[in-house]
């Protein structure tokens, strides 16, 4: 065996042991620390509140993220629907104006029943464009 290897073997093999009393004391303290940590962790978890409980578990975290995502999608679609329905509301308002008593009486004064019928047809055309199809 080369001297370097011999030195390495000596370093590898030499033993320094703690005394039996020290050894037991260290083990007792270590286990005590573990027990204390467990107790304080449990206590901490109870005090932490629901948000921390949610965020500690991977599954709940994913579920919360999915809910938030769905909520966003739902909100966005509602907003889009609202925008889309705005012209319809305007058309309905227009139709209501067209079919008001004033406009009908004016049409009757101008051209009799035929003119009033035209006015009413025009008004309903806004809110019921496929009237003819239904009539047919």
């Amino acid at each position: 065996m080369r001297p370097t290897e011999r030195i390495e073997k000596l370093i590898h093999d030499f033993e320094v042991k703690p005394g039996e009393r020290m050894r037991k004391q260290m083990l007792r303290d270590t286990l005590e620390t573990q027990a204390k940590t467990l107790t304080s962790r449990k206590q901490g978890a109870l005090n932490a509140g629901i948000w921390r409980i949610i965020m500690k578990s991977r599954i709940t975290k994913i579920a919360v993220a999915a809910c938030a995502f769905l909520f966003l999608i739902f909100g966005a679609s509602l907003l889009y629907e609202k925008k889309k329905s705005e012209p319809v509301i305007n058309e309905t308002q227009q139709a209501l104006k067209s079919i008001s008593a004033y406009s009908l009486s004016k049409a009757f004064a101008n051209g009799g029943v035929e003119e009033m019928d035209k006015q009413a047809t025009l008004a309903f055309k806004h809110i019921w464009p496929d009237q003819r199809k239904i009539e047919n």
Binding site: I7, L10, P18, M26, L27, T30, L31, T33
Partner: protein, 180 residues
């Protein structure tokens, strides 16, 4: 394999796993600490602190390498911190070589059964701390030079040359005293 199982159990708060890890590694860690610090009382304190913080970390422990290397690194870091604190607080203790000579009557020697090993510990005390650290981590901790370099925050070449110089110095110190 056993270490992986022990770690898995420890993360599930097993008292038996911690006890087994302690029994398995306490002697090695104590030897590492004693040869780094040259004083059993300091070694006792360091190993005690390391096991306490290990027990405290439990669930949060994220270990990539092997358990022994991890624990040896913890002991080396704690010993380094202790040495620095000693140097800051006391000039008397700065001279480690003198301390090693005075250690003849130290209890550490009563625990070292083998005469050659006793001489080895005394010689280790005469090495610069950085060289001692690398030698202990490599031989007792079975750590690669890459791991040592990362722990000591030096390059791999530096770690290797510290090891080489340290072994050379030990060889010259032990020449004639220990059968080489």
């Amino acid at each position: 394999m056993e270490d992986l199982l022990l770690l898995w159990k420890l993360k599930r708060d097993s008292r038996e796993a911690l006890e087994r890890i302690y029994e398995k590694y306490v002697n090695d860690l104590f030897a590492v600490a004693a040869s780094l610090l040259g004083d059993v009382h300091s070694a006792h304190d360091v190993v005690h602190d390391v096991f306490e913080s290990f027990a405290r970390s439990g669930k949060e422990l994220k270990l990539k390498g092997n358990l022994k290397s991890y624990l040896v690194t913890c002991v080396v870091n704690a010993a380094r911190y202790r040495m620095r604190a000693k140097r800051r607080t006391s000039d008397v203790l700065a001279d480690y070589a003198a301390e090693a000579k005075a250690r003849q009557a130290d209890p550490v020697n009563e625990i070292i059964a083998d005469e050659q090993a006793r001489r080895m510990v005394a010689c280790m005390g005469e090495l610069p701390y950085e060289q001692r650290e690398v030698i202990i981590m490599h031989i007792r901790g079975q750590m690669s030079f890459k791991e040592i370099a990362r722990t000591a925050d030096v390059s791999i070449n530096t770690a290797q040359s510290r090891y080489r110089y340290g072994i050379e110095k030990l060889r010259s110190l032990l020449q004639g005293e220990v059968e080489l």
